[in-house]
């Protein structure tokens, strides 16, 4: 009972704020609405029982990425400046396209989904198990993607510094 109520509250928060994030006239407000969406998503992970994913979502997305966004907005925008509105034709085109897409995908999903799944109650994912799976080299274990991600992060640090540094 409590789970259902929490889920529907989170669903309303996520839907409303994700629409507000892309329609807001001020960039800093869109970033704030995006933050609410990301925190709501973290709540969904908590409802699903993925506590580790919740922690990662809050720390990386809501913590790290949002700080980057706010820095970028404050560096490139004058305070209180509104975005000049886009041409109406472009907005109408975007609304029509996304409505067609949402109806199309929604129809496919809800007419094809079968009710065979059952939500198995499962205890919280053991952190030790997650760590072993992340670091193991056997089947269904993820050491190689982990290392590839670390190389990607290194490359991205170097690339970001290269691009953003001042050229003398």
């Amino acid at each position: 009972m409590a789970q259902q109520i929490i889920f529907y509250i989170l669903a309303v928060i996520i839907s409303v704020f994700s629409i507000m994030a892309v329609t807001s006239k001020r960039l800093i407000r869109s970033a704030t609405y995006l933050l609410f969406v990301l925190l709501g998503t973290a709540g969904l992970y908590l409802l699903l029982g993925y506590h580790y994913l919740f922690a990662v979502q809050v720390a990386v997305y809501a913590g790290g990425i949002m700080v980057l966004y706010i820095f970028a907005i404050l560096l490139t925008q004058k305070p209180g400046e509104k975005i000049t509105p886009e041409p109406l034709r472009q907005r109408v085109l975007a609304i029509v396209l996304s409505l067609v897409g949402i109806v199309f995908c929604g129809y496919i999903i809800f007419s094809n989904i079968t009710k065979v799944y059952t939500l198995v109650t499962q205890s919280e994912l053991n952190t030790k198990h997650i760590g072993m799976t992340l670091m193991g080299t056997e089947k269904f274990q993820y050491l190689l993607p982990f290392e590839v991600i670390s190389i990607l992060l290194l490359a991205c640090i170097v690339g970001a510094i290269m691009i953003a540094r001042k050229r003398s």
């Binding site: 409802l47 609304i95 991205c156």
Partner: protein, 125 residues
């Protein structure tokens, strides 16, 4: 009506409900990506799209294959990749701002820096 209400609030949360939430998030991202002109707004839209994909991975994993962890780890790695993408993209946006003094898509009609471009055209003349 009351029966419907109790059915709605008892039992498990249906998988479609989660997918509907991520569907709304995905297509509002698509809307922002097409309609907005600011590069930072486009980045925020991409972020919404990536986040909705993460929800789908976690939900499919939890409901359909609860004993395995593929979706869980895919969501984890997707979060890391999107962090990388944001860092590089924001570096590019700041560099663009330094050169052109705004971050609108319409003003980006050449890739070269303006001074070098003008020098090149002078050489061509």
């Amino acid at each position: 009506m009351g029966d419907l209400f109790t059915n709605f609030f008892s039992g498990i949360i249906p998988m479609e409900a989660y997918i509907a939430v991520s569907l709304v998030m995905f297509f509002s991202g698509i809307y922002g990506f097409i309609s907005r002109k600011s590069l930072l707004m486009i980045l925020i839209s991409i972020e919404l799209i990536l986040n909705s994909i993460d929800i789908n991975f976690a939900v499919f994993n939890r409901y359909l294959y609860p004993e395995q962890m593929e979706g869980f780890f895919f969501a984890l790695f997707t979060i890391a990749v999107s962090a990388c993408e944001t860092a590089v993209a924001i570096a590019i946006v700041i560099n663009i701002y330094r050169n052109l003094n705004n971050v609108e898509v319409d003003s980006l009609n050449e890739l070269q820096e303006p001074d070098e471009a003008s020098e090149n055209t002078e050489v061509l003349k």
